[in-house]
Symmetry: C2
Subunit: 346 residues, 2 copies
């Protein structure tokens, strides 16, 4: 017997589009190996409009329209006049895939989307780090109470399975501390500065290559890294922390002199995220630190990232993701979907 799973997508940016392309490509695998037909029945995006059809959306058409016109066409028969919240309420989809833009001040409106989805009896996959960084404990409890899954592998290090590493493959272990390089924009900027490029030029180069936003402050002030640190503390160390509680220093004050002084000491400057226990309480910080050139962390180049986790029973394990593309983010969402299929088909 074939099962059908219906998805509602909140947001239709690059990651959402890559996820839809992957879904189209994997339809046959899902059908043959998992006996599942996956249908996206609703997409709601603030800038591109909304689509809705209980039968299942024509994803190829949706992707093409956005590629050509930046939004859904007015003659698309599946076009709907729905807000994101309206889609969640009216789509009757089984899974919300939360892909809206991160709002670092408070994790909204993604938190609201997830609450509403759980209220409607939906499972939730979020690629948006806001809810996990700001409100994980409460949302997890809500999900548990409704017997639904809240999955979020993509929130830190794209599709690299850092959360599942601890949850699925290190049974019986407690995480004592972690350390990571988790923001690729700042990593790229610092690396450019090592080649002699001034800070402002390095930021511009990052923007030109698509690593940095027009307003790069979320990255260079360390907010993105702080949100990831908060998410890791909340999930891996049972924290109940928000990004402003993370000690945070960005890279804006790093001068060419600092970079050269580091090089003289055979070091590099890296923006390091750390989490640890202080009197049993999870604490975190994000700041630029010197890393020796023969240290593992100094070899994490450009858009690569690393997370080192220290546990009570298994010592120190590191995971490195090398040179990810948007397809790896898409895979992270897809892997959560497969986890959901595995967990709910038992």
């Amino acid at each position: 017997m074939t099962n059908r799973i219906t998805l509602c997508l909140a947001g239709f940016g690059n990651a959402a589009q890559a996820f839809c392309r992957l879904l189209l490509q994997q339809q046959q695998y899902l059908y043959e190996v998992h006996q599942v037909k996956v249908d996206v029945t609703a997409i709601a995006s603030r800038s591109k409009g909304a689509l809705f059809d209980q039968v299942g959306l024509d994803l190829s058409r949706a992707l093409e329209e956005v590629a050509h016109h930046g939004m859904f066409s007015s003659d698309n028969p599946q076009l709907a006049s729905l807000t994101t919240l309206g889609s969640i309420q009216q789509s009757h989809a089984q899974v919300l895939v939360e892909l809206s833009t991160l709002s670092i001040e408070n994790g909204q409106p993604a938190i609201q989307h997830i609450e509403e989805a759980l209220r409607q009896g939906m499972h939730v996959i979020t690629a948006n780090k806001g809810p996990i960084a700001w409100d994980f404990r409460r949302l997890k409890e809500l999900a548990d109470q409704s017997g639904k899954w809240l999955l979020h592998e993509t929130v830190v290090m794209d599709g690299a399975p850092v959360f599942n590493l601890v949850k699925e493959t290190l049974p019986g272990c407690s995480v004592i501390s972690f350390k990571g390089i988790l923001n690729s924009t700042t990593n790229f900027i610092l690396e450019e500065m090592e080649t002699g490029r001034a800070y402002e030029d390095a930021v511009k180069e990052a923007q030109r290559r698509g690593f940095a936003e027009a307003d790069p402050s979320l990255d260079v002030e360390g907010w993105d890294a702080a949100a990831k640190t908060s998410a890791l503390l909340n999930v891996l160390m049972n924290g109940n922390i928000t990004p402003p509680e993370i000690l945070r220093e960005g890279i804006m004050k790093i001068s060419m002199e600092d970079v050269k002084a580091a090089q003289k000491k055979s070091c590099k400057i890296k923006l390091i995220c750390e989490g640890w226990l202080e009197n049993g309480q999870p604490r975190g910080r994000v700041l630029p630190l010197l890393v020796e050139k023969n240290d593992l962390f100094s070899t994490i180049d450009a858009t690569s990232s690393i997370l080192s986790v220290t546990t009570d029973l298994m010592g120190e394990i590191c995971m490195v993701e090398r040179h990810p593309e948007i397809e790896q983010t898409a895979y992270g969402i897809y892997s959560d979907l497969l986890t959901l299929i595995r967990k709910t088909s038992k």
Copy 2:
């Protein structure tokens, strides 16, 4: 309700002893969190003798005797005159933990132990890489036919969950290739040579520190690395390969000149294990290769190890285990036991 799980240990070397210490330490956790009482009811070791008691062995006493006398005492009331095969046949334990010494020529007698255990209706956890390197496909089929589990996380990189990484956290991904530094003895010897120590002296230093055996040939000829490469090919890439089929070159011919020439090129020499597909068939090789100093692989020092896995959907993911001790091997066996508890209690 509390479940009881009984174990039969084949072998009682360092890893087995560390596993027993960990088991003693985790009894309460197992009882409280998993409602399981774990009893070792049989231990059979060629050099230390055998113990057997349906009620459960006194592990503290067994550990103490071996620490003091190198074998079980003649006045130990649980002493038994059983061979390893006899223990497996007569213990009626539910799980065989295979910890006997690796025989690189053919993977025996561990393969025989596992076959017998499956015939007796036991699950199997093996820390011995022989069976996985030599005969994985057949043994896995035997286990599947009897509805029993064959677990082997410790076989490569101790307790670092390299097999479970792919199996549990990268659903829907196919492994296309891998590359690793997986033998710590040769890694240590090459590192010593970089400090100017001659090959023979480096081997002696490795022996003095306990990294190398009295006969270091298994390590320096690349056999241990080849067995791990074979195990990875068999499990991660659906291979049916044995260690002699791995192209293999050890480090015995590496001269001080080679090491210095590498340093001049800003490189290090590392013994690299690789696996890839050739016309759809898994192939492997082990050989000393130049690694650039700013490459991740060059920072893998002393007893640390790394495995980089390239997949179709998730790109390249690396796992690094830093400075493991025997406790991390013990954890690997324990994590297999927890996996077994989780899988069989569903």
